[in-house]
């Protein structure tokens, strides 16, 4: 094991911290808006350069640790902070830095209508998010990972609720925060249990312990399941996926950064980081795989019935996260991680492309689009590149990573999830090309306003086009590179896999083409053929309702009981005591007549009693 130099990774992390702290503390700069944005982007660019340098230094398997003592306890150190740079963390770091940087540049144009103070606020949140995400990626121990994990959750909350005056956005932010928080409770419990078992938070020390076989396997399943709960919350696995589609209320660049490329993949990343631990508990891995496959299928079905372009992409993200999780469950975390990286590129591209469309059309709804390919050719081309990548067509970004996942699941001996994933590959191609045909081809919708319509869609300004092209070219480059230079696979994948996967994708594209472009198959009769499934999908499989029911019944019911106890038992006792004191005081007051004679009478009677008492009791 070579030792590398962690300084660049640390620099990438601290540059975003600098950006955030400067904008947060120097309020006048933040309120200026654009200068704040340029400062933040400068930090992001520096961070990107540092991250890529760090990646180059660690690509060959070098590992470097820069760790400082923190939380001393009884002569030892309970926890440390620092960076752990290796090939996995630095490549993830580069992805985060790249997407964060491109999204910030994109936001310059996308949010240019915002008033200056909230523009500055947006970039402050962006820097905070990038810093926390990088801290999570580079965390050398679970304590730091958890802190950054929560910081990521907070900045996600702030960014989803960026337009906090819109009630849906505020509600979505709270929903995202609470659902992921529910998973985080599991994560925290898992980390603490693991600490009790191993006596350390440090990932490297833990790994040494695991590999020496000194760790008792009994009871480990609960721990890994708890860790998985946290990962499932963040990575939107069934049934905790319901926050992600609602999170689309945030600005589109935020969705691209947080809810496609980086934050939602944190769960997958956590499982990758603790892969050696999960390998000890195959039963939990099986749960991970099955839930991942089910999530992928369900989200893909849901994506087929959405009319909101961002929601299609959101469900697609959930579906792809399910893919990654299935690969991890099959025991090949590296395949899942590979898909995470390529998916980060092309999903950010798709979201930013959708943002360009929304920016031009001023609507999220597919029926309001159509024929956009002529009016915004650049956007159409990059969106198509993203779509082909997502569908897994050779030469495009997602081709090989998707293949790897399918191969991994097959090699992992999980035929059930494998079949589900093949169906999902078909559905993915179908729903993505449905979006492409509905939005970019066909005819523009007839405007009811006649000539008065002021929407003339056109390609986005340079600040938005640049990130789109960078991501599109990178997706292509990754796709082409890996199509011709197959990396050394960890497993044997059968020869029929590639043709099968590609033909599933092509079948999906073909069906979408026939339905939405040639209109040979009537969309309505296609929908009718899948009547019950479609009906269930429109109602989101009632999962939101189940959550709401549980919330109403359990949480509100419990609150009512507690409220009743507080109001009538706790307060009741106090009220009775105080009112009794008051009324007895009121009653006793009347013996104070103020007449001297009564007092004399009292003295005389009292004296008499004392005398009698002295006579009879003391004698």
């Amino acid at each position: 094991m070579m030792t590398g130099d962690g300084t660049f990774a640390l620099a990438a992390l601290l540059l975003h911290a600098l950006g955030f702290l400067t904008l947060a503390i120097v309020a006048p700069l933040r309120r200026l808006g654009r200068p704040a944005a340029f400062f933040s982007i400068a930090c992001a660019l520096g961070s990107l350069a540092a991250a890529v340098t760090a990646w180059q230094r660690h690509m060959g398997g070098a590992v470097s640790r820069l760790v400082w003592q923190w939380l001393p306890s009884q002569g030892q150190t309970l926890a440390t902070v620092g960076v752990l740079a290796d090939s996995d963390s630095t490549v993830m770091l580069s992805l985060v830095a790249l997407v964060a940087c491109l999204v910030q540049i994109y936001s310059l144009a996308y949010l240019s209508d915002e008033p200056a103070p909230s523009f500055g606020r947006y970039f402050t949140y962006q820097s905070l998010f990038a810093f926390s995400m990088m801290g999570l990626v580079l965390a050398p121990n679970l304590a730091q990972l958890f802190i950054c994990w929560e910081l990521v959750g907070v900045s996600s909350y702030l960014l989803i609720g960026f337009w906090y005056k819109k009630p849906e956005a505020a509600r979505a932010a709270v929903k995202a925060f609470w659902i992921t928080k529910a998973g985080d409770v599991g994560l925290l419990i898992g980390i603490v249990l693991l600490w009790r078992l191993t006596g350390t938070f440090d990932l490297t020390e833990m790994r040494v312990l695991v590999e020496s076989g000194a760790l008792p396997v009994a009871g480990l399943s609960i721990i890994t399941f708890c860790l998985y709960l946290g990962a499932a919350g963040k990575s939107a696995q069934f049934p905790m996926h319901i926050w992600l589609p609602d999170a689309m209320e945030g600005p589109t660049p935020v969705s691209a950064l947080i809810h496609a490329a980086t934050m939602v993949t944190a769960g997958v990343y956590l499982l990758l980081r603790t892969e050696w631990l999960f390998a000890l508990t195959p039963d939990v891995l099986l749960i991970v795989a099955w839930i991942g496959a089910l999530t992928a299928l369900m989200a893909a079905i849901l994506a087929c019935v959405q009319d909101d372009i961002k929601r299609v992409l959101a469900y697609s993200t959930v579906s792809q996260l399910g893919y990654m999780m299935t690969a991890i469950g099959a025991g090949f975390a590296s395949a899942g991680f590979f898909h995470l990286l390529t998916h980060g590129l092309f999903k950010a591209l798709l979201f930013l492309g959708a943002g360009a469309v929304i920016h031009a059309v001023h609507s999220n709804d597919l029926p309001h689009m159509g024929g956009l390919a002529r009016k915004m050719p650049q956007t159409a081309i990059v969106f198509l590149i993203g779509t082909l990548s997502l569908a897994g067509i050779p030469l495009f970004g997602g081709f090989l990573s998707k293949e790897e996942i399918l191969g991994a699941v097959w090699a992992g001996g999980l035929p059930g999830p494998f079949i589900i994933l093949m169906i999902v590959a078909f559905l993915t191609a179908f729903y993505m090309f449905r979006v492409v045909f509905l939005a970019f081809f066909g005819h523009p919708p007839a405007h009811d306003h006649g000539h008065g319509s002021h929407t003339h869609p056109h390609d986005p300004p340079a600040a938005m086009a640049l990130p789109l092209w960078v991501l599109a070219l990178l997706s292509m480059a990754v796709g082409v590179y890996f199509t011709f230079t197959h990396p050394e696979p960890e497993f044997e994948s059968p020869g029929w896999l590639t043709p099968a996967a590609v033909s599933a994708a092509l079948a999906g594209i073909g069906l979408a083409w026939l339905t939405y472009e040639r209109k040979i198959i009537n969309a309505a009769s296609l929908a009718a053929a899948f009547g019950p499934i479609r009906y269930a999908a429109i109602h989101r499989f009632w999962i939101d309702d189940v959550f709401e029911g549980i919330y109403n019944a359990v949480l509100l019911g419990f609150s009512k009981v507690v409220g009743w106890l507080d109001r009538y038992i706790v307060d009741g006792v106090l009220n009775v005591v105080s009112s009794w004191t008051l009324s007895s005081g009121d009653d006793l007051r009347t013996i104070q007549t103020g007449r001297v004679q009564d007092y004399v009478y009292g003295v005389a009677v009292g004296l008499l009693i004392l005398l009698l008492w002295a006579r009879w009791a003391l004698a």
Binding site: Q592, G594, R595, V600
Partner: protein
Amino acid sequence: MGLQAYLTLAAIVFSIGLFGVVTRRNTISILLGVELMLNSVNINLVAFSRFSGDLSGMVFTVFTICITVVEAALGLAIVILLFRVRRTATADHLDLLKG
């Protein structure tokens, strides 16, 4: 007549005085009740002095009578002042101590 008879007389006079103090509504009557109670004490002192042959009881009685006179003068002065200020000498109306 023995000591018992004098003590009984003193007790009766004391009780009448106390009754007057407690029940009369006129402040002057209350003062009269106080005088009665003091005099019952005087009867006790004289009776004990007479039956034990010790003259100091008699001397004490003379002191007590002097003090009673002074007290009556002070009490009457207070009553007159009260009447001037409150325009009443009825004990029931003098309830400023009421809580």
